[in-house]
Amino acid sequence: MSDLNQQMANRYKNNFLKEIEEQAEMGEWVKMCMQCGLCSGSCPTNFQAGWDHPPQEIFMMIRAGKRDEVLSSGSMWMCTSCYNCYVRCPRKVPVTHVMHGIAEYAYRIGRAPKNQPTQHLSKTFWDNATKHGRVNEVKLTQSLYFKDGIGAGIKKGLEMKDVALGLVKAGRLNPLEALGMGHKCKDVDGIHKMLAKARELEAQRKGRDNKGA
């Protein structure tokens, strides 16, 4: 092909669909969407203001190559994992997983929306849980409450104090966790090694896929 033809061909090449297929988990399902709208209509989060693009629109935007709009969209982060869309999809597209896959990819390459509450929760939860192999509830709550400053954190803490005391009484919350004590898993090193290995395998798999494309 001549250079001019090549340029023309490139203009029509949808690199973003390919990028999602290769990089985002379950991204290969995007092309299976037939735009019926059953996923969006079944989504309970669309009653909330944070819902910019329903799943089927995200799928269409990916095919249309709207990279910036998709990656910076808050929609994937609004998914509550209720799996309504997943079980109903006439094409058996695992919509829930695809949305999570795109969200994770957007975060990984630093394009996810900043200060998105679900994203903040996910990150905080992950760091907290992987540190000792078990969730430190006190520290997790603290880091979430104080996200928007000390004043807001104290206010929120006071609002929730009855719930917290109830949890302590029922033995569901250990106040000593605030000092870094409380429950841990038996083999913290093992957990860390396991996670490191998983990351290594993931990188290997993605690398191989890239070469193949």
Binding site: M34, Q35, C36, G37, L38, S40, G41, S42, N46, H53, P54, Q56, E57, V87, R88, C89, P90, R91, K92
Partner: protein, 427 residues
């Protein structure tokens, strides 16, 4: 005992709907002996339960009448109604078939005068009208029923009602001692034309069929529009009998869905486009239709029909598969979903919602008493290893009437070739 003359040069046709009738007639008109077996007490199958056909909007009774004339004029066809094939043994060119005959309790003397129906008090669900109404337990299935003979429902046998029917009959046609029997007959080739059934709407839980009275199916809507139907042809909604002037049609209700029917049922888009005519016909400009669709599949020559409906200002098209039906305080069904053209959420109330149900082969889940291959949707496929049994019509694929007739003619030709071979071998 019912006596049937059949040899290994006879063609057995299983199913007396439009496909089975066509296959039987085509074969018989070439000079072959045919036995036509039908499970219902009448011929015509689901075709006679339609109000009108697309694309010409003519009445199925017309086409049926032509076929019945051909049938009555042809001495080579033996018709068995209330009959089911229960077993097939043997092979191509030499089958032995058991057929179970259910009692009709009414013999050939019947003139369809209707006196037994007047005498009987018990009412049963009206199966011909998809159970939308009730009929007497001594009944003629439909005005066009062939054979034109009453049926006495087995549920009243042994009750005083049965005796009343017998007493009312001036012709000695009521035979309460009629018994179920199983007969065996020979056949050289078999045409399997058992047709289809509408997909079970209650399985599509989010559409609320069975919970909301004003959600009906496409086959029920045919009966609502038919002057011989339960409402006398007035399109009234079931909950309160109000005139349904704002009707929603939901396409792909069950079809093209891995959780329900994998295949596109092909006829339902045209069916709904046709049914918008019924609404228009009944209420003029006050009759509004809304079609919710994924994409309209008005296959090949029917594109023109679609374009005409599209040009009608009283028909609205919404590109979206409805995700959920709810009911408002007035009992109106409300369609909820997201419109693909603009991705806007909608919640639109209608007087009546019609689910354009897909076609499920009647043979699916039924133990076909012979080794016949079926595809992933349950439709019968041609099996070269067993090439004396041929599928026809909707038993083989989701087809409209026109295509079912073509398929049946093709099956008849294949069956004729088999019995011709048998005849040559024996000559």
């Amino acid at each position: 005992m019912t006596s049937v003359v059949a040899t290994n040069q006879t063609i057995l046709v299983v199913g007396g709907g439009i496909s089975g009738m066509t296959a039987a007639l085509e074969a018989a008109e070439t000079g072959k002996q045919v036995v036509l077996v039908e499970k219902n007490p009448y011929l015509g199958g689901r075709t006679v339960q339609l109000y009108r056909y697309f694309p010409k909007m003519c009445h199925p009774t017309c086409g049926l009448e032509i076929n019945l004339r051909r049938l009555k004029a042809n001495p080579r066809i033996q018709v068995l109604t209330l009959a089911e094939v229960t077993g097939i043994r043997g092979g191509r060119g030499n089958y032995s078939v058991s057929v179970k005959l259910k009692p009709r309790y009414v013999n050939e003397n019947c003139t369809a005068c209707g006196e037994c129906g007047k005498a009987v008090e018990t009412e049963i669900a009206d199966a011909f009208n998809y159970n939308l109404g009730k009929i007497k337990a001594a009944y003629l299935p439909s005005n066009m029923a062939y054979p034109q003979r009453y049926v006495i429902d087995a549920s009243i046998i042994g009750t005083p009602d049965a005796e009343r029917a017998k007493a009312a009959c001036k012709y000695g046609a009521v035979d309460l001692d009629d018994k179920e029997e199983v007969i065996t007959l020979n056949a050289g080739a078999i045409v399997w034309a058992t047709g289809w059934k509408p997909y079970d709407a209650e399985k599509i839980v989010y559409y609320g069929y069975g919970r909301f009275p004003n959600v009906v199916t496409n086959v029920e809507f045919e009966r609502l529009a038919d002057p011989h139907g339960p409402t006398g042809g007035r399109i009234l909604r079931p909950s309160d009998g109000k005139e349904a002037k704002n009707v929603a049609f939901i396409q792909c209700a069950g079809s093209r869905d891995e959780n329900h029917l994998r295949h596109c049922s092909r006829f339902c888009c045209m069916g709904s486009l046709k049914q918008t005519h019924y609404v228009q016909e009944a209420y003029g400009d006050a009759g509004k239709s809304t079609i919710y669709y994924i994409d309209i599949r008005a296959i090949d020559r029917f594109e023109d029909f679609y374009q005409k409906v599209k040009a009608n200002p009283n028909v609205r098209f919404v590109k979206s598969k409805v995700a959920r039906i709810t009911e408002d305080k007035d009992g109106n069904p409300v369609c909820n979903g997201v419109d693909v053209e603009g991705y806007k959420r909608y919640a639109t109330a209608h007087d009546l919602v019609v689910l354009a149900l897909g076609m499920e082969p009647s043979v699916k889940g039924v133990d076909i008493p012979a080794e016949v291959m079926s595809d992933s949707s349950g439709f019968v496929m041609a099996d070269p290893a067993n090439a004396g049994i041929f599928g026809a019509g909707c038993a083989t694929n989701a087809l409209d009437v026109n295509r079912a007739v073509q398929s049946a003619t093709a099956a008849a030709l294949r069956a004729i070739q088999v019995v011709n071979k048998v005849a040559r071998a024996e000559a």
